[in-house]
Symmetry: C2
Subunit: 480 residues, 2 copies
């Protein structure tokens, strides 16, 4: 998933800004680098390296829930793929997180009209007692309505929250949908509810494929059973409730916390020849949710970044700075890989020239935003000019947050971009069984690689930096 | 499902014809009846009775596999609904058939790339041994390729046949797709295969919702495990096979024959005032496949026919002939309800004025075809004129087969229509979890009711018959 910072959506349109003084010497991308970036861009547009990578990951590894049976296989795949692509340095950095497992899940309406329901347990949900949990359903049309409810009216019941997400190019309804999914179970649990259901945070109104995703539970002792109904199942439950009779649902979720797990971020580098210790950080997350094969979320992101690095590696000589491609561990259950990376590299934030992660699918990038120091805005405009011919518009009025995991490094002070894909249908498939390779158009994916290769190379060759420093960009509205 | 007679598609464009002599007195619909039919049509176009019926069935009963836990509930619902709608006579006729049950199903690729597969067992499939069946997959691109294979090459293996269905308004690719599903398992079993898989007979290229449906197995001792992969899972299996390594799949299907079951066709009648023993027979089938709620297949058909009868019942006086609405038992596993009806009523075939069943979804009807005696073609043209304003074209060059179950009565000699809905997206949802109420547009359903009400009434009021007689229409190409 990609995080959509609510603060950004709600209010902040602050211009990109850093703590550095505006009197700094302007950062400039040398003309030779601009020309090479244009060539990289054009070559990448006709190259299928990115598609081959995501095809390989989703076919050979498939679904890869963090800590699950394919976690180690995915890391092995990533190490081997970086090596096969000719990366100079390949290594891993461990990431430890709570292990949450899904074993099986079933649900049914018990009364008044017995029938099964298609649902999926949410990350960090508790399991139900053996034999299932049967309770009456109490419905709310918003999270606010739940918050305002009398706790006595939900105690011992299954709270059901139904909000509808609509398709948007920037996917902004996910702020609302994921808000219900993350916050709803926690609120319901505190009010004494026995369980929690939501209408999936997804825009596919007609698919019986529920959308999973993480809840706000972090401690097993706080968790209650929580699951998402597919949109048609939520419609059905709404219709059954409309009869005005008490509706009882049985949840049978064999899921839950199971100790901790140590995985790893897998990192590949194209070593800079002039400033090997300075890095342009790009990446995606290697874990996926388990029902699909994690093609758009986030095999695509890993593939885009890996392929962009590979395009740069194939140049006659290495770039001035290092291109660091990070395949993050366990983004899905709370940015564990991103937080581990930021904790480990916080002291090196100033060495991070510029960074961003791809985690919003594989459709064409249409917008670039940036959080850089004022004296680097000219360099961003140079980048914008190179990627404008492939359909990317620079929006100078919004900050760049660095994407999901790298938002954590941006939070530490790393200058960051956000490169926004067309997310119109992203939430049709996101976190469902339908997140499979067929959702990726190789040509659209190639455009992503072109943009990542061009910007990464230009950042690596820049004469000057973008303002990364401890504590920079703290108030740009992109970090939360 | 609707049967698409291969003979019709392949060759026969014979004009509608019966055994009666062309010198018969022409059948004519009186002008008063034409006028009433026009009023019925216009009223029905703005009426939501049909939608309310299918909403009630799919909400209150839900999925209703023949012989399953909801079979009796569905029959109770139908009896109660006929009565609620004011039908004059409501009764049931028993139908006995082999009971086939689905309890659970799982599958995974075991080697070379372990991962789960989304699949659904097919009707009359055998179960696998406890603990599952693991075998190598051998792939065929057509049923012909399988037939031509050396049996030694498939013995003990899982035969996998992959053909792609495309969307068409008349749904004609289903002839090919269902041919693989029905015939493939039988051929594979005879060749000594351990199991059978197919790419779903469905046109939804991007949904992880496999399409079930019946196989050609009729005797438990001939059956092997047989299941359908969703289209994206078939794509995945194709990709894995393309690596050229042996591919092993584990099937774990807890399904199978379990004795026999006696259900019933549920029948409601609006009694004719002049010729109560002569019937216009319309209907749909009450059973559905189990993953969805059977909205388009075939709650819609039941609702269209029930609502059409109700519209006629609400006229100031009863029609001349009886309107008989039949909610058939177990169409899905081999027209059991239709065959039982035809066997029971064969001697009365001459009393069946005209008939047809709706079993191709709920989109607008765009074509009418007819199998009637030559001297009744003028009356069919009168019907055509009444339904043309709501978008139905009369194709005089093709026979009318009576729909799925009523094809059996047509086979006995009943004059029949076929009223063809727009099936462009029908095979996206058919026999899947996605066959739910949200796939029905109330306005389009109302058009169906308008057409059924208008034609049924006109047939009931006709001065003369349409040629029903034992053995009539045997060579019209519509029956198989």
């Amino acid at each position: 998933m990609r995080r959509l910072p609510l603060t950004l959506l709600a209010a902040s349109l602050a211009l990109a800004t850093g703590i550095a003084s505006a009197a700094d010497k302007a950062t400039v991308i040398p003309q030779a680098a601009v020309k090479t970036a244009e060539q990289l861009r054009d070559k990448a547009m006709d190259d299928n390296t990115g598609y081959k990578i995501v095809e390989s990951l989703t076919t050979e590894v498939g679904a890869r829930i963090a800590g699950g049976p394919n976690d180690q296989r995915a890391r092995d795949w990533a190490v081997a793929k970086f090596k096969e692509l000719g990366y100079d340095k390949v290594y891993t950095e461990t990431v430890t997180y709570p292990l949450w497992e899904r074993r099986s899940e079933h649900a049914e309406i018990v009364a008044p009209f017995p029938q099964s329901l298609s649902l999926i347990a949410l990350g960090y949900s508790a399991g139900t007692p053996k034999g299932g949990l049967t309770a009456e359903v109490v419905k709310f049309d918003s999270l606010d309505a739940l918050k305002k409810a009398d706790p006595a009216s939900v105690k011992g019941k299954i709270v059901y929250v139904t909000v509808h997400m609509e398709r948007h190019k920037d996917g902004h309804d996910y702020g609302m949908g994921s808000g219900v999914r993350v916050g709803g179970p926690v609120i319901a649990a505190k009010m004494g509810a026995a369980g929690f259901l939501l209408r999936s945070a997804g825009t596919d109104a007609h698919s019986r494929t529920p959308h999973t995703g993480v809840t706000g539970f972090r401690d097993p002792k706080d968790a209650i059973p929580a699951a998402a109904l597919s949109n048609p199942d939520a419609d059905q439950l709404d219709r059954v409730l409309a009869y005005g009779k008490p509706v009882k649902v049985k949840l049978d979720l064999d899921v839950g916390f199971n100790g901790s797990y140590t995985g790893a971020n897998v990192i590949g580098e194209i070593t800079g020849k002039k400033h090997p210790d300075q890095v342009v950080a790009i990446g995606g997350h290697l874990d996926s949710w388990d029902p699909g094969t994690g093609a758009i979320d986030d095999g695509a992101g890993v593939a885009i970044a890996m392929a962009a690095g590979k395009m740069i590696r194939d140049l006659p000589q290495r770039p001035d700075r290092t291109i660091r491609v990070i395949a993050f561990a366990n983004e899905e259950m709370g940015l564990w890989g991103g937080r581990a990376y930021a904790d480990k590299h916080a002291a090196d934030v100033g060495k991070h020239q510029l960074g961003t992660e791809s985690d919003f699918g594989a459709r064409k990038i249409w917008r670039m935003t940036a959080s850089v120091k004022p004296s680097a805005v000219g360099a961003i405009e140079q980048i914008a000019k190179v990627i404008e011919p492939v359909g990317v518009a620079y929006d100078a009025k919004r900050p760049g947050g660095g994407g999901s995991d790298l938002s954590q490094m941006h939070g530490k002070g790393m200058a960051a971009l956000t490169l926004t894909q067309d997310g119109t249908d992203y939430f049709d498939y996101h976190h469902t069984a339908n997140d499979t390779l067929d959702k990726i158009d190789p040509k659209e994916l190639a455009q992503n690689v072109a943009v990542y290769a061009a910007f990464s190379y230009m950042a690596a060759q820049a004469d000057g930096d973008f303002g990364s420093a401890p504590g920079a960009f703290a108030k740009d509205g992109a970090s939360d």
